[in-house]
Amino acid sequence: MNAVFYIAAAVAVISTVMVITRLNAIHALLYLIVSLLAVAVIFFTLGAPFAAALEVITYAGAIMVLFVFAIMLLNLGPRSVAQESQWLSRKTWIGPALLALVLIGELAFMIARGSNLSPAADVVEPKQVGVALFGRYLLGVELASLLLLAGMVGAYHLGREWGVRERVSARTQERKSARSGE
């Protein structure tokens, strides 16, 4: 049963190496998502199903969507069409797809094994985590919420349009003409 851990660890390391060696940001993102999913499988084998679920939902879900949005925002213009067709080639997605297939195989294996789903000796249930989180660590939760609020305000402040009103209206005019020109 430890084989699940070792295979997932190998997938995580391989995909992480691919992340830091890719030249195209989207290719790297695909590998990063596979790496995060592999770490989620590792959390599950360590007996932390709650952390595994959070890894998939928050890291591979929300944070990666943020990355994709930012990269798409950076690639405005006509050359994005050429890039789009380039991204859809098999060479782009075959590597992450194969690594993800390995993880799906592990998942199928664990489901087929039945009864005791997690291979860890003692599983830390989500209930225990919740009791600890809102008991001993209540102050930490409040601080985390403050941090998230600060992050939200900071991101809004930085993402705002700057300068005098004329510049903003000129920019929107520019965008409108660019859009109608397409």
């Binding site: 830091i20 940001a25 959390f43 890291y59 949005f69 000796a121 225990q128 992050g151």
Partner: protein
């Protein structure tokens, strides 16, 4: 049924952390630097969860949750800064923004 040895979990966390560190040091594209930072934070979380699993306590997962929320806040502000940098310098090279306007 033997569970995974703690050392291997920590070794994997260390390996992922070092890979992220290499990414931060080697790459000059600021988006890749942010991605490598995410890898490093994730490796730190993995170390916490591994340690929590070793003692069968929930504290490791609680710390992982805090790291997760910190990573979310960090990446929101970081990507906003990346967009700002791109609009200002028309490049994603981190070295382009090496000079401060004092």
């Amino acid at each position: 049924m033997a569970s995974v040895p703690t050392e291997y979990g920590l070794l994997l966390a260390g390996a992922l952390f070092v890979l992220g560190l290499i990414g931060v040091l080697v790459r000059r594209n600021i988006v890749f630097i942010l991605m490598s930072l995410e890898i490093m934070l994730n490796a730190a979380g993995l170390a916490f969860v591994t340690a929590g699993a070793r003692w069968a306590q929930a504290d490791g997962q609680v710390m992982y949750l805090f790291i997760l929320s910190m990573a979310a806040a960090e990446v929101a502000v970081g990507l906003a800064l990346v967009l700002k940098l791109y609009h200002q310098f028309k490049t994603l090279d981190a070295d382009a923004a090496s000079r401060m306007h004092g």
